[in-house]
Amino acid sequence: MTEIKKTFAVKGMHCASCVRVLERALQKIEGVSEANVNLATEKATVIYDSTKVTNKHLASAVAQVGYQAVVDDEMQHKDLEKKEKQKELQVLKKKVAISLFLGALILWGSFPGIMNTAPDLLKNFLVQLLLASVVQFWPGLDFYKATIPALKHRTANMDTLVAIGTTVAYGYSAFITIFPKIPQAIGVDSSPYFDVATIIIGLILLGRYFEAKAKAGTSEAIKKLLGLQAKTARVIRKGKEIDIPLAEVLVGDMIRVRPGEKIPVDGIIEEGNSSIDESMVTGESIPVDKTKGDYVIGATINKTGTFIYQAQKVGNETMLAQIIRLVEEAQGSKAPIQRLADLVSSYFVPVVIMLAFFTFAIWYIFGGESAFLFALLNTVAVLIIACPCAMGLATPTAIMVGTGKGAEQGILIRDAQSLEIAHKINAIIFDKTGTLTKGRPEITEIIPFIPGRKDAQNPQPIFNLSQKGLLQIAASIEKGSEHSLADAIVKKAEEQQLTLNKVENFKAITGFGVSGTIDEEEVLLGNRKLMQRENILIADHLKEIENLEDDGKTVMLLAVEKRLVGLIAVADLLKETAKETVKTLQKKGIETLMITGDNPRTANAIAAKVGIRRVLAEVLPDQKEAEVRKIQSEGKKVAMVGDGINDAPALAAADIGIAMGTGTDVAIEAADITLINKDLQTVVSAIELSKKTMRIIKLNLFWAFAYNIILIPVAMGILYPFFHLLLNPIFASLAMATSSISVVTNSLLLKRYKI
């Protein structure tokens, strides 16, 4: 029984009877020995048997009586893990020191060449037996403890090999020490090999110590992310500001954040403004200015101003919690490349044991004068050198470091499979709006057709509009429209503080534009198709219109009383890094494509600006998925980059769907890779990360397989007929200890890569 004490917050208590109800509910759980609830602090303290009770039991008991337990599961689990591992490492360190120290003493007293300098006591076989027994049954006990239960399940692992190998060396040595006459009578070597058994145990435990230390580094990302959380929040309740633990913040709470403080949860600014460093969550290094109405992300840092915001997402709903969940899930998945290692691992240990029997027989039959000695030592060497761990660690350690490294840069990878496929991508389709462009159309030109300009329909223009006049009419009529281009026009008019006219008979004509009446005059604003439909001549201004379209702008024509009076050009500006990103991808041999609903002229113009040669224009949102499949049918591995909400089917259809600039549930669900920031260069980073991770995995697997394929035959003595070379079991244990460490260390190198 392992009793532990846990204190956690309980939400929803309001009177003394709540205390009694909760205490009773908690005490009813089998395994709980004591439960105390404090109304003032709104906390419960429970003492329970951790082998019987989990956090889920506690939370469910509290929920059943109508309250909510805030059991900080993940953080406590990680803390517990850290503490336990530290404790294990301390014990392991002690065992390594004892084994190597005693092993060195035995070696001094038994190794030819140096044993002459050793005191007689150490040369005594019984003393060596005593020292070796300490190592075999204290530090070495771990191998037996792992082997015996495994044998009950008819399975074996690396511990089984070490246990058998060291038992053979120790057992034989102990036997000839206790019964020295028997080996002499049957004519076999009578020297004990206690040094082999003890030093093997010492070196393998030493390897395990370094491996455990290195492995801790592979899962650091989650700990780092958890560490980003604020501990408390300053909430305003009943007009008072109070500091409360993060777990107790509720949706709707008003929270004050002062300069230099961490933002506790996700929400919307209600008052004040500030510059916020979001780099730890989005990977974007430049602080973002935020003001009333803007969304702030929990765990980011408020730089300069003070503001009050309303909590929108708390607990497991925050963006940080989602990121942690996603990284954890990715680290819990398996890459397809691991399949071969999995298959080999499942047969590995039994095959090595069979090879050990074979080695013993071959050496005993053909070993000449020292046949028994050769057979014994080579069998031990075969058992010790085999290293299934390196194969088991090769892929998952790299995946853990890779996904963690990605999360630090705002690249969230759904699973190991996505990380693996991403390195094979050879075509990337970018959605235009919001991906290549900023997604905020802006007015670039307002051109009134000035008086005196020749107009075929009416040589004497009746209108004499200034730029302001033209914008005023356009904004007035667009006020009632919901189109994103209308927003740009109305916003511009507001910036110029123009007074808008009253519009009557407003009508939105889908795919064409809008119409209405201002001061009893008919006004039309829309594309060329609208003008054609209303028989308004535009021929005289066609060149001007085409020039603007060739420049990637969307042209909106304004007609009053069936006469063209001017145009407004709107452009969605390209992201600063768009061109550079496309260039980098092309340099890497990846074809870049753009998909958009725009007409081919505008689409081609925008594509040309960023350097994209292949354009999929006039594609309606529901046709994007089919376009992705068409590109795939050309034999390409396709990545689709979009916003993750409108493009969800296309993202799902692509080999790799990359959702950009968002951390919403919809986006994460649809995408294989979610990029939290809006910088297009992150697409390149994600592909680079995949390539580097895969390179590390392949190197690890090559090393793990090559190590075993080459060294097991060497340990069997394959080199002996040619070079008279045999592998000492002590060197075998050294090689084995370093092989897993090298795999883990190689994976950790990913952390150093700049992506």
């Binding site: 392992t2 532990i4 951790s50 082998t51 019987k52 009770v53 989990t54 956090n55 889920k56 689990h77 517990l80 893990e81 336990e84 294990e88 771990d142 403890k145 792992a146 082997t147 239960p149 495994a150 044998l151 009950k152 399940h153 008819r154 399975t155 074996a156 692992n157 690396m158 511990d159 395990r208 455990a212 954890e328 899930e329 990715a330 680290q331 819990g332 998945s333 398996k334 290692a341 999995d342 691992s345 499942s346 047969y347 240990v349 039994p350 044991i353 069979m354 029997f357 074979f358 013993f360 027989a361 005993y364 039959i365 057979a375 299934p388 761990c389 194969m391 088991g392 660690l393 998952p396």
Partner: protein, 121 residues
């Protein structure tokens, strides 16, 4: 060939056959059908019960209790359900899963040495 060599050869051959039979031979696999919403799995030299049968589309809590100090077993990896969890010694760790499709899903320790199976019907 001398008698001792013949004995050693036979002994080794028997060892090889026994190893193959013991570790790789077909084992009788008992499936524990989970009818409640949770199941306890003891982690000690493997997973007991080794095979659990879970219902499709329902959330089942698997409580892993590690009693084995072997570091190989300190993590459990249910890769089909995207779960990798540290198992502290002698403490239950609850993992909730909701199988979405039928089939057999193998889970393992962090180093892929020990295996258990979830059967979804």
């Amino acid at each position: 060939m001398t008698l001792d060599k013949i004995i050693v050869s036979l002994f080794s051959l028997a060892g090889i056959i026994f190893t193959y039979w013991f570790f790789l031979g077909k084992k009788e696999e008992k499936v524990r059908e989970v009818k409640k919403s949770s199941v306890d799995i003891v982690v000690e030299g493997g997973y007991s019960p080794n095979i659990v049968s879970l219902p499709l589309g329902k959330t089942t809590v698997i409580n892993f209790l590690r009693k084995d100090s072997n570091s190989c077993l300190e993590e459990v990896l249910l890769s089909d359900f995207h779960v990798r969890k540290y198992l502290p010694l002698n403490q239950k760790v609850a993992i909730s899963i909701m199988p979405q499709k039928k089939g057999e899903f193998v889970y393992s320790c962090g180093m892929n040495m020990f295996h258990g199976k979830i059967v979804v019907k």
